[in-house]
């Protein structure tokens, strides 16, 4: 039954993707991207990847759509020209697709427990997580501790991208106070979205915090929580207008958050060295190595959450504040 459901979702995904590429209206394409992300998230859930599904739903269907819409408002809503060399491109793409599909016949059967990917290091992580870290969510354990270096790198990529967007869009025309009539009022004069939003936003924030601090026990963690909290603030900005959102979380605070996350993460690593361990070795943070690991993961997840929230909100405001 689940297999049939999965195939249904995947087929819908392909149809949506074709529609995205075919439509010339970019607004429609962005909306369809949101749907595709949601379908993808449902698929991840069927494939046992609860953490990934949560991330994809929050980031792909939520934040990505808002950012694309922000960019469309500043550029144009439809494509003006036909594709180049349509036939040649199609031939290249079709040939490559055929080669890829031919290659899939050599792949291990779907779900095969004996496939090379399942027999290499994965069992070690599943076996040793209770012993070394003792938290139920293995994904969080691998993300935060076993592969802490990777995650530190990813946090710096997010940090760099956020700084890059702020450099590209932060200054220039956007600087200075907008004239009164151009200030984005949001949907403040529309009753229904406002009332619904007011009811929803506290719960979204609460859920974000739950996802952040419950990441060791259930699906969740800094990346997802950051996206969810950013989504709540973006919803607030859409309903109440840019200005009010910026008075709640001023730009200085956002810049502080962006810088604070990687610093916090790095500080945990350095603290490990100072206490006599290796960089990002949490075992020395507490007298009990397992407790130290848990403490380390909690702090670095907080760092990740702070960075992701700050960067996504900074990017959103950079797009929204740009004068048309």
């Amino acid at each position: 039954m689940i297999v049939i459901f999965g195939i249904f979702l995947l087929t819908l995904l392909v149809i949506t993707a074709i529609a995205i590429v075919r439509t010339e209206n970019l607004f429609v394409a962005v909306m369809l991207m949101g749907i595709a992300s949601l379908l993808l998230a449902a698929n991840f859930f069927l494939l046992d990847a609860a953490d990934v599904a949560l991330t994809e739903a929050a980031v792909g269907a939520g934040i990505s759509t808002v950012l694309f819409l922000g960019a469309l408002a500043l550029t144009s809503e439809s494509e003006r020209s036909k594709p180049t060399n349509r036939l040649l491109s199609f031939t290249v793409v079709a040939a490559a697709a055929l080669v890829l599909i031919y290659a899939t016949f050599d792949k291990p059967r779907f779900g095969d427990p004996e496939a090379p990917v399942q027999t290499h290091v994965a069992p070690w992580y599943l076996e040793k997580t209770p012993e070394y870290i003792d938290i139920p969510n293995v994904v969080t354990a691998v993300l935060g501790s076993f592969r802490g270096y990777d995650t530190l790198g990813e946090v710096f990529v997010v940090f760099t991208a956020g700084i890059g967007v702020l450099f590209l869009l932060g200054g220039g025309k956007a600087s200075g106070v907008l004239p009164e009539e151009k200030v984005n009022e949001g949907l403040r004069h529309h009753l229904i979205p406002r009332v619904v939003g007011r009811v929803l936003i506290p719960f979204i924030l609460l859920f974000g915090l739950y996802v952040q601090f419950h990441g060791e026990y259930g699906p969740g963690g800094g990346f997802q929580a950051g996206a969810i909290i950013a989504a709540a603030v973006i919803l607030f900005a859409l309903l109440e207008g840019e200005k009010r959102a910026l008075s709640v979380l001023p730009e200085r605070v956002l810049l502080g958050l962006i810088a604070c996350g990687p610093l916090l993460y790095g500080a945990v690593g350095v603290a490990g060295i100072l206490l006599g361990g290796n960089f990002l070795d949490y075992s020395v943070l507490s007298s009990d190595p397992v407790k130290g690991q848990q403490l380390g993961i909690l702090i670095i997840e907080a760092g990740v959450g702070i960075t992701v929230t700050g960067v996504l909100l900074g990017i959103f405001h950079a797009f929204a504040a740009r004068e048309r």
């Binding site: 990934v52 490559a96 994965a122």
Partner: protein
């Protein structure tokens, strides 16, 4: 059943190539970025598909006696890749907005014409 198991991989191949088509054939810069996002989504799907184990469940010890778990490693990689992906897409969109402001267009050939002048 054998073919059914390959379906996920075929969807990956087709989705990847649909995204690639948008990147090489479309002239609108935003559309190219949308294509790139689709391309990325296809790669995510491939990784997560490979981590699935028959009869397994999410790799969380919930205390309900489950013994077979899907592979946590691809999930960790993709989880971070999704957030990095949106950050880099945002950077791309930022560049597109600046291009629009400088050139007055986001169509590739029009930008090239202005550059050649």
């Amino acid at each position: 059943m054998e073919l059914l198991g390959l379906y996920h991989y075929w969807v990956f191949a087709i989705l990847l190539m649909i995204g690639f088509y948008a990147v090489i054939a479309k002239r609108n810069l935003v559309k190219k970025l949308i294509g790139l996002s689709l391309f990325q989504a296809a790669v995510f799907l491939l990784y997560i598909t490979m981590g699935k184990v028959d009869g397994g469940t999410a790799p969380i010890f919930a205390g309900d006696g489950a013994t077979v778990f899907s592979n946590p490693l691809p999930q960790v990689l993709i989880l971070t890749a999704i957030v990095v992906g949106i950050s880099t897409t945002a950077l791309g969109l930022g560049i597109v907005v600046r291009v629009k402001e400088e050139y007055g267009s986001i169509e590739e050939h029009e930008i090239q014409e202005i550059d050649e002048r």
